[in-house]
Every structure is written in C-alpha cells, then in structure tokens.
Symmetry: D2
Subunit: 153 residues, 4 copies
C-alpha cells in the first residue's frame, strides 16, 4: 500500500542513495510510528493494576512515534543524503527505536501489542543501520549547505 | 508492512468500529501523508519554469501530509469512535485529500509523482467516506466526554 | 517569543483574515500543543494509584496536542482562508480543545499541570471561536480549489 | 503565552536539567517551527521569477519545522534527560536549525520573512548549544533504559 518506492522512482532529480534501501527505511519508520501510537493507547487500556508499570513503555512509544514520523519526512525529502542533518536524524531514530524495542520487549510476553510494537521497532533499527552505512560520513560532508542541495536548472 | 490491523486485533478493550475498515483508513492515511511529503519535494526539484505553476500543488501537499498524519494518529487511539472529535478530524482529512487530489490531478499528465500522489489522496477519500458512514453521527454522540472513553477496571 | 505576527506582517501576498486574530489563534494552538504534551507526561509521573484515573486525560492530551499542531500549521499557510479545509480543521481543533479542557478540568484541583493545561485549551477554544466567525462559511466558498489559492504572477 | 515553564514547575517528579534553560529551549523550538512553516509558505507566494531560487530554502524550512516540532516534544517529556535519545535528537535539531539559518540568511536582504526565520533558527542554535552542555554525555549515560525513567511509586 505504501507509495514510497514509486515516489522515489518518479523523482525528477538524482537520488544519491540506493532506492530499495531508502524505501525500506521510510516504510519501516512509517509502520513503526503507527504501531507506537497504537501501543501507547493500548497500554492506557490495560487494567488499573498493569498500567502504572507501563509508564516508561508509554513514554518510549510516544517519543519513538514522533521521532520516526519526522525521520520518515526528512528521508522523504531528498535534501542531499550526505548532509549532516540526515545522519543526525537517522541516529536519533535509531536511539528512539532501540529504547522502545527494549521497553516493549520487557512486556512482550504479557501484552501482545507490546510484542508487535517491539518487532516494528526492531525493523526500524535494522533498516536504519543498513541505510546509515551508505550515508556519507558527516566528516566528509560538503561544508556548505548549498553544495548538498539539488540544483535548480 | 503495516501493523495497523495487528494492533487493532490485540487491543485490550472493545473497539466500536469495523476493524478491517479502520485499518484500511489508517493505512491509506499513512501512505498518503508520505506520498504528499515526497510529492512536495519532487515539485521543488522540477525545472525553474515548471515550479511556479506548482505552488498550489506544493501547499496542498503540505496541508494534506499534516492533516493525514494527525488523522491517522487520532484513529489509532480508540478514544471512543462516536466522539465528535473523530468525525470532525475525519471530515478535515476528507477535505484535505479532496483538494490535494484535485491539485495533483491537474498535473498528473506532466508529472508522474503528481499522478501517484493524486491516487494516494483518492484512496484516502474512499476509505474515509466508507468509515464516516459507520461513525455515530455527532448529533447522537454521548454528551459528556467521560461516556465515550474506555473504562479503567 | 513567537514570530507568528511578524511572519504575517511580512507575507508577500494578501491575507484575507484579520492578522491580529490569526496570530492569536496560531500562538494559542502552539502553546496548547506543548502544554498537552507536557501534561500527558506529567500524568504518567503521578503515583501508581492516581495514574489509572488519568487514562482518559492522557488520551485527550495526546489527541489535542496532535490536532493543535496540525491546525497551527494549516493556519500558518495562507492557502486561502475561505477554504473548506481551514474551517474543517479549525472545527476539529475546537472539539479536541473542548474535550481536553473538560478532561483536564476534572483533575484541576488535584493536579496543577491539569489546571494549567485546561487553561491552555480554553484559550484555544476562545481564539478559534473568534476566528471561525470571520472565516467564510463553507457554503459560500469558491467551488474550485484553484480560486482559493494565491496567484503566481 | 507559552506554558512551558509553568508545566516544568508543576511536574510531579524530579527534572535533572535546569528548568529555565529547558523552557527557553522548548520555546525557541516551538517558535522556530512555526516561523519555518510560515517562511516556506511565504517563499511559495513570491514571484515566479524568485521562487525557483528559493527551492533549497523551502526544503530547509520544511525539514527544520518537522525536526524542531519533534525535538520540542521530546524535551517536553522528561524521559530522563541524560538519555542518549535526548542528546541525539537535540543534535539533529542543531543541524536542522544551522542549515536553515544559512539558507534563509542568504535571502535575508531580499525577503523579510527569511530574515525573521533565520533569527528564529539562530535562537534555536543558541538555546540548544547551551542545553547540550548540561545534558549528560551519552558515554556516561546509564546503560539500561529502566534507570533513566522516573520511578512509579
């Protein structure tokens, strides 16, 4: 149902990153953000005894949903994939997804929604780790923003 | 790749709306938001002659991306589907998707990314129109918010 | 600290809505979104006994934060203030802010963060009610999106 | 009009970061996100001759708006300010604000909205640079997420 790959294939300028890998990352981020929003809400519907133990899980869900949403948007704009921003935002999403996978993973046996959410987070970690290897190190990034932007003809 | 349906199936409380229809709506909104973000960026990579004619298309893409994102989140929280908020937010998304489908549709023959984006918007219109029929009319909604919220046991 | 008014004053095209009223609405939405995000997190830091009673409040905070964020963005784009989208999104924000003001209001005496958040929501309701009176009724809106968009010279 | 400081003062658990500095950062991020959204829209209302030269500026505005929004939310949740996520997300926002300040700065003499937006970005850079000095280095962060979260009594 996602259009990420089709949108990459019809982009009217060059994209410096492998399109299959990029589409996989965008789709994983989008799916994870939705799963985290739903998992936080499911935690709030657990019993009054269980819920207080889920406070950290809910927080990590909310952080992860917001960070994944923004990272999917940054990756959907081809501002220049060697840019320091892309690397920094991908690294933030890696942290958010790892923390949330841990939090939800602790409850995976008791709550099915946490198990599924932890899986969605793990897929983000895998997709972003693969992508990060192919993003130009920030040390080698062009020093002025102008050089990283697509040129207007 | 989406987990919307699995998250609905593992929700620990009752959901008053058809789950298949709800998952379809959430997935359509999520896919459309990504397509709109990518389409706005693709429009900005078109030639200097074409771009000024795409200003309205870019704006409608940006509005539609934001409104679809928020609507997907509201629908991913099962705050009580008879609530006036759900209906109002779904109606806003319907307007955003219709406007964006029109704007992108005008450029569909010239720009493939606009054609795909218009299709993503049309799927949102279809999914939300189907969903709206099954959401309780706001006139019949419980008058106090407390009655629409899942109960904590 | 907000730049909403300055950005309106330097906008290079006509804006059909009173700028003071529009800036007040944008600022109220932005402040409310932040207060709701912080209130949801504060609720999650309350004692294990209090937290389960705050589940609806947390949900309404999260919905209201997302809806206010998106509404502030739609109002920050001057796509044509007679447009059906603007009215629909403003109406969704009115619903979200009313529900959240009610939920947080119920806990205002016990939790200071709920009292402040309810106040932020009430300011949104007031600002959007005032704004809505000056937005063209959707019945009179131009029928094609093209007519509502600023023209490119 | 912001409630960031009041929400910090009424938070029911300890916050490990200077509250004045944190409130300043949250307010700067919120104001910057709004200015960037408005600046992108203002660029799209410039003449057909000027607009193509503003493509990079619009992109940087859109990235900066999204990244600042999410960073304001992460900082509004007190998930544990020594956490690796907070540092990583703050660093991404620093990059986004620096790039956008550069892009808008190039057009500051021609477009007042770019001048104001560059100022909003510069305030984010200053506020986050000050905050980052007081966030625990990730190398010293507790190794398990559980230790960084507020305890439920």
């Amino acid at each position: 149902m996602s259009y990420a790959r089709q949108m990459l294939d019809t982009y009217p300028a060059d994209i410096a990153v492998d399109k299959a890998q990029l589409a996989t990352a965008i789709d994983a981020l989008t799916a994870c953000s939705q799963a985290c929003t739903a998992c936080a809400d499911a935690c709030l519907s657990e019993s009054g005894e269980a819920m207080p133990h889920l406070a950290r899980c809910i927080r990590d869900d909310l952080d992860c949903a917001d960070v994944c949403d923004t990272t999917a948007r940054v990756l959907s704009r081809h501002t220049g994939y060697d840019a320091a921003l892309t690397r920094a935002q991908v690294q933030a999403a890696l942290q958010a997804a790892k923390s949330c996978a841990d939090s939800c993973g602790e409850h995976a046996e008791m709550h099915e929604h946490c198990r599924i959410c932890a899986q969605a987070c793990t897929e983000v970690v895998e997709a972003l780790t693969a992508l990060l290897d192919h993003l130009q190190p920030s040390g080698d990034a062009p020093s002025t923003p102008s050089q990283t932007a697509p040129q207007v003809s």
